[in-house]
Subunit: 304 residues, 2 copies
C-alpha cells in the first residue's frame, strides 16, 4: 500500500466526508473559521475541503459566498478506510493479532516486524506501543523488545478490582452532587435512552455498548479525579474488544445490563448512599462475571 508516503491526509478526508453530510441541510456554508470549529479542524484544512467541493461542482465558492449547487452523491465520499488515523489502523491490527490466538503470554513483540506487517513506519509502531503500554498488557525490556503479558484471567481480575474501587467511589460522589448540578439532567437523558433501548432490546441490543460507555463515563467524571477518569480508557478499550469477540448470549446479557443500569440510575436519583452502593456493586459484579467467563481458565484468550 502507501509506501514512501510521508503522512496521509486522513484528517482532511474525514473532515471532507463530515462536511458532505452538512451539505444536505443548508443552501450555503458558514464562514471558514466557523466551519473549522464545527468540523474540529484548522482553517487550512477547511480551505482544502472547500477547494475540492468547488472542483467537483458541489458548491460555488467566491470569498464569503459558498452556495450549495447539488446534493452529494455516494461517490463524492472518500472511502471509509482512508479516513482512519494511523494510530487506529495500528491498534486494530495489533488487537487482531492479539486476539487471533497463538498470542501466548511471555511472547515477545517485534517493532520492525509489526511495522512491516502493517505497512507503516517503525516510529508510529513505537509510539503506539508506548501509548498502549498503559493498558497493562505489554511491558518494555530496557534497550530491547516488548513482552506480551497476555489477556489472562489475572489481567481481568486486576482490571476489575480497580474498576470497582473507582466506580464505587465515583458513584458515591455522584449521589452527593448538589441538585442544581447539570449531571442530573445528563442522567435523566441517559435514563430515557435506557428505557427506549429496553423496549427495543430485541432488535437494537448491539446499541448497548456505546450507551454503556457514556453512562459509566458520566459517573466516573463525578469523581473529579483525572486518574479515575483516565482509567476508564483502559476499561473502555478492553470492553470495546470484548464486545467484538464475545457474541455469546449478547442479547440476554445486554438486556440484563440495561435493567441493572436502570436500577443503578434509580439508586443515584434517590441519593441514598446505601442503595447506590448496592446497585453499583450488583452491576459491577455481573460485568466482571461476563468478562471472566469469556476468558478460558488461566490461558490466553482465544477468539470465540
Amino acid at each position: 500500500m502507501g509506501q514512501g508516503m510521508s503522512k496521509s491526509n486522513n484528517v482532511y478526508k474525514d473532515a471532507y466526508n463530515r462536511c458532505l453530510r452538512l451539505l444536505d441541510e443548508t443552501r450555503s456554508l458558514p464562514s471558514e473559521p466557523e466551519l473549522g470549529t464545527l468540523l474540529g479542524v484548522s482553517r487550512t484544512t477547511v480551505r482544502s475541503i472547500l477547494a475540492r467541493m468547488e472542483e467537483t461542482g458541489l458548491i460555488a465558492w467566491n470569498k464569503r459566498a459558498k452556495t450549495v449547487l447539488r446534493d452529494p452523491r455516494p461517490d463524492d465520499f472518500f472511502p471509509e478506510e482512508e479516513t482512519d488515523t494511523l494510530a487506529e489502523i495500528i491498534e486494530r491490527s495489533f488487537m487482531r493479532r492479539l486476539l487471533a490466538g497463538g498470542a501466548e503470554a511471555g511472547m515477545q513483540i517485534n517493532e520492525l516486524e509489526l511495522a512491516r506487517e502493517i505497512g507503516v513506519g517503525t516510529t508510529s509502531v513505537r509510539e503506539f506501543l508506548i501509548r498502549f503500554s498503559r493498558f497493562g498488557l505489554i511491558e518494555k525490556r530496557r534497550n530491547s523488545h516488548w513482552v506480551l503479558k497476555g489477556f489472562t484471567r489475572a489481567f481481568a481480575l486486576e482490571l476489575t478490582e480497580i474498576r470497582e474501587m473507582f466506580e464505587l467511589r465515583s458513584a458515591a460522589a455522584f449521589a452527593a452532587l448538589p441538585q442544581d448540578s447539570p449531571v442530573w439532567a445528563d442522567l435523566d437523558r441517559l435514563e430515557d435512552e435506557h428505557r427506549l433501548l429496553a423496549r427495543e432490546i430485541a432488535t437494537r441490543f448491539n446499541a448497548f455498548s456505546e450507551l454503556d460507555e457514556r453512562f459509566h463515563r458520566l459517573i466516573h467524571r463525578a469523581s473529579h479525579n483525572r486518574f479515575i477518569v483516565d482509567f476508564y480508557d483502559v476499561i473502555a478499550m478492553i470492553f470495546h474488544y470484548h464486545y467484538q469477540w464475545n457474541k455469546a448470549q449478547e442479547r440476554e446479557r445486554n438486556e440484563v445490563a440495561v435493567g441493572e443500569h436502570l436500577a443503578y440510575i434509580e439508586a443515584l436519583k434517590s441519593r441514598d448512599l446505601g442503595k447506590v452502593d448496592a446497585a453499583c456493586r450488583k452491576h459491577l459484579k455481573s460485568a466482571r462475571h461476563t468478562l471472566l467467563t469469556s476468558i478460558p481458565e488461566s490461558r490466553p484468550l482465544q477468539k470465540s
Copy 2:
C-alpha cells in the same frame, strides 16, 4: 553538542564505568555471558568494554583469560553526564522548565522548541511526552500541541486520593500474607535500615527518600495488581522532584516520617488490620500535608 549523531553509546559507557568498579575486587574477570548478566547488557557491549580495557592497559585479554593488570584510575571512567539515557536528559530538562516558575497551567508545549532547546530530535521528545502523559500533568490536543495542566493543588489532591486508596488496600493485603512469604524478611531488613537511619538522622537525613520509595513499593507489590504497582511510578516521580525543590525543614520532616514508617512496620508485623489501617492512614496524612504545603494556594508551583 552532539549533532547529526544517530545514537549515543551511553549503554556502553555506563556499563564500562560499572565494570571498572568490578575490577577492584578481582584478579580476573568472568566469562563474557556472565559479565553480560552481571552488567545487564548484551555480549556485544561486553566485548566493546573488554576491547577498550585491553587498549587502555587495564586488563590483558586473550580468549578466556582476562587478567587485571592495574587498578582503574579516576580518568579511566567516562564522565557521568555521558552515561545518561536520552529519556533521562529530556525528563530533567523538561522538569527543570516546569519547576523553574513561569510554567502556568494551560500553557502549551511545543515539541519542536523543546527538541531544539535540549538539542535532541523531535522523535525522542514526542516519545518522552507520550510516556510522561500518564502522570496526568500534560494532555494532548488531537493533531495539535500538548497542554500543560500544571503542578496545582488539585493535582496533588487527586494524586494523593488514589495513593491513599491503593496503599490502604495494599497494606491490608500485606498484613494478610502468610508467615512464610519472603516479604516478611524484606520487611525486617527495611526495619533495620530504618532504625539505623533513625539513629544517624542528623547527618544522613537525605538518605530517606530512597528508603521511602523502597518501603512503599514493597507494600504496593503485595496488592498483586499491576495497576496499583504501576501507579507508584507516578507517586515516585512526583516525590522525587518534590524532595529536590522543597528543602524546608527537610531533616525534621524526614525524622517524623521515619518514625511513622517504624510504627507502620510494627502494625504490619502485628497483622492486626485495625492497627495497620490506622498507622497507614496516619503516615499518608502527613505525607499529603507535606506535599500540599509546598504548593501555593491554587497556583502553579514555584521553586522554593
